[in-house]
């Protein structure tokens, strides 16, 4: 009877039943870092992934192109102004904060299109969300970390080049300290503009990424949506007539960043788009930004609450 395979596993009647073996498992004795640390770690990891750290070189092309496109012009202009003093004043006038910010705005659009899907799409596609949520972080923490990561990345392109220009302006001025005293609000305005633009582009990018499985499709949808929506609003403004026509400009999502830049940093020469009707007060575009960010936040929160 003992040759029957199933027989070997059955316990002898006399022996103890349900013995506990010591396999050497140990309790974790180290520090427990908690939610805040988990959010920081996830933020850092998301940023590294979007930048293509430790990935194939093809994943790094777009970040490198974006950082080069954002920083090379400003560094070049400052260099030329430092070396060729005759053209310095003329260059300083043409290449001001507003011009630079309006030129960087399309780069932010590309950045959001490239990085936002990188934040959200793969985690859902590869079914690793349950792993995240079985850890210390909650769903809101997860979203917060992703928003923070994208915001920091985009801020590095929306704010830092302008700060470089500010430092350049200060150092190239005849009397740097006097220049600082004469332009006290510049840093504040640069920070506010960069933050508004980053948050605005990031919010739309993330909400689209939250509903698409493939990264490429999410990016295409994002850029396509913004471009076509802006085109439709422009066509609409040509077709209708009425007092409310000017307010259509508030809805042309692709042009709102230009308006914010023009409001906070002054008009730019030869950069940015013209409003569809009579120009509106600059602060009214804050409503668009606030509405877009709120709607995107709520939609994303709902989406991830329902996510299993």
């Amino acid at each position: 009877m003992s040759s029957v395979p199933g027989d070997a596993g059955s316990a002898p009647a006399a022996g103890p039943y349900g013995e506990i073996f010591d396999r050497g498992y140990q309790h974790y004795q180290g520090r427990r870092e908690g939610r805040a640390h988990a959010v920081r770690a996830l933020t850092l990891y998301s940023m590294r992934r979007a930048l293509g750290v430790k990935k194939r070189w093809t994943a790094k092309i777009i970040p490198i192109f974006l950082y080069a496109a954002a920083f090379v012009p400003v560094v070049t202009i400052i260099g030329v102004r430092a070396l060729v003093t005759q053209v310095s004043a003329q260059l300083a006038e043409g290449f001001n904060y507003s011009f630079l910010a309006a030129a960087i705005s399309p780069l932010l659009l590309i950045y959001a299109a490239a990085a936002a899907p990188e934040m959200l799409c793969d985690d859902r596609r590869e079914n690793v969300l349950p792993l995240y949520f079985s850890r210390a972080i909650t769903r809101v923490d997860y979203l917060l970390a992703k928003v923070l990561a994208l915001g920091l990345l985009m801020g590095s392109i929306a704010i830092v080049p302008l700060l470089v220009l500010f430092v350049g302006n200060t150092l190239l001025a005849d009397a740097p300290l006097t220049y600082l005293r004469q332009h006290p609000g510049d840093i504040g305005r640069i920070l506010i503009t960069g933050t508004l633009l980053s948050v605005y582009y990031a919010a739309i990018g993330l909400v689209i990424a939250a509903f698409t499985a493939r990264k490429g499709v999410a990016a295409a949808l994002y850029i396509g949506f913004i471009t076509i929506e802006t085109g439709v609003v422009e066509a609409l403004s040509l077709a209708v007539s009425g007092a409310w026509k000017d307010y259509l400009d508030l809805f042309s999502l692709g042009n709102v960043p230009d308006r914010i830049v023009q409001w906070l940093l002054g008009p730019a020469s030869g950069a940015g788009s013209a409003p569809v009707g009579a120009p509106l007060q600059g602060w009214t575009y804050l409503f668009t930004v606030a509405a877009v960010v709120t709607v995107c936040g709520v939609v994303m929160h709902r989406r991830y609450l329902a996510e299993e």
Binding site: R56, I61, A239
Partner: protein, 247 residues
């Protein structure tokens, strides 16, 4: 149907993949946006004539935005998804020549894209123009220009999708941002852009003295460019696919 699945199995397979994926619907959505603009034109104050509207629509909306978006969506998916999902080995293990896989994949994406774009254009043309102003020449020019741009974008970016993972994003950056930047800053380089080539085909087919394009190509040279670009892209793509090991 049976004969298609026998004669062109990869074509058949790709069409089935397109039917299952959501990218096809997105491409159709993009292809349908001109209809919205046509409706706005119809209901609006009619400050421009119908022919003028359609010509502007093609030169400023269709060729720069709608055609590349709708085309890239499927052209980069056809082979790119097989790479992303690591299903290329199963494809390559079949006793089918690599060149044939490339051609059939391209044909499938071109077929679906041209169908959606053609339907969108047909409805747009019917909505935007009425009565005496409805000209079949305009429709032919719209279809011809779109088809030319679609084929060139499709072949080129199917090749790119074999080379890099983010082909769709790179393609959109190229089509929407790079080509407009080129057109603005270096007018001569426009001759190398697909958008300009597709606009030239439109202008030449329309043959209307009021619709002009800076440095438009002649029709025969435009056709030559189309053939060269498509054949070269497909050839390089099949050479690249030949270098991938099946196992």
């Amino acid at each position: 149907m049976m004969s298609l699945s026998r004669r062109a199995p990869i074509l058949w397979l790709t069409l089935r993949q397109f039917r299952a994926g959501r990218a096809t619907w997105l491409a159709a959505l993009f292809a349908a946006t001109p209809i919205l603009l046509a409706v706005i034109h119809r209901l609006g104050s009619r400050s421009v004539s119908d022919a003028e509207f359609l010509a502007n629509l093609f030169l400023e909306v269709l060729a720069p935005t709608v055609v590349p978006l709708a085309t890239l969506m499927l052209a980069t998916n056809a082979l790119g998804n097989e790479l992303a999902d690591r299903t290329v080995p199963y494809l390559l293990l079949k006793p089918i020549a690599r060149a044939r896989i490339v051609v059939e994949k391209f044909l499938a994406s071109a077929l679906v894209t041209s169908l959606t774009l053609a339907v969108g254009l047909l409805v747009t043309w019917a909505v935007a123009s009425s009565g005496a102003e409805r000209s079949s020449r305009m429709l032919a020019a719209l279809l011809g220009g779109t088809l030319a741009g679609m084929l060139a974008y499709g072949a080129l970016f199917m090749l790119i999708s074999l080379l890099i993972q983010r082909a769709l994003l790179v393609g959109i950056i190229y089509a929407l941002i790079w080509e407009s930047a080129l057109a603005r800053f270096i007018p001569g380089v426009k001759l190398l852009s697909i958008r300009h080539f597709s606009q030239s085909v439109f202008v030449r087919l329309l043959d209307d003295p009021t619709v002009t394009l800076d440095r438009a190509l002649q029709l025969p040279s435009a056709l030559a460019v189309l053939v060269v670009v498509t054949v070269a892209a497909l050839t390089v793509a099949s050479l690249l696919l030949r270098r991938i090991n099946a196992a």
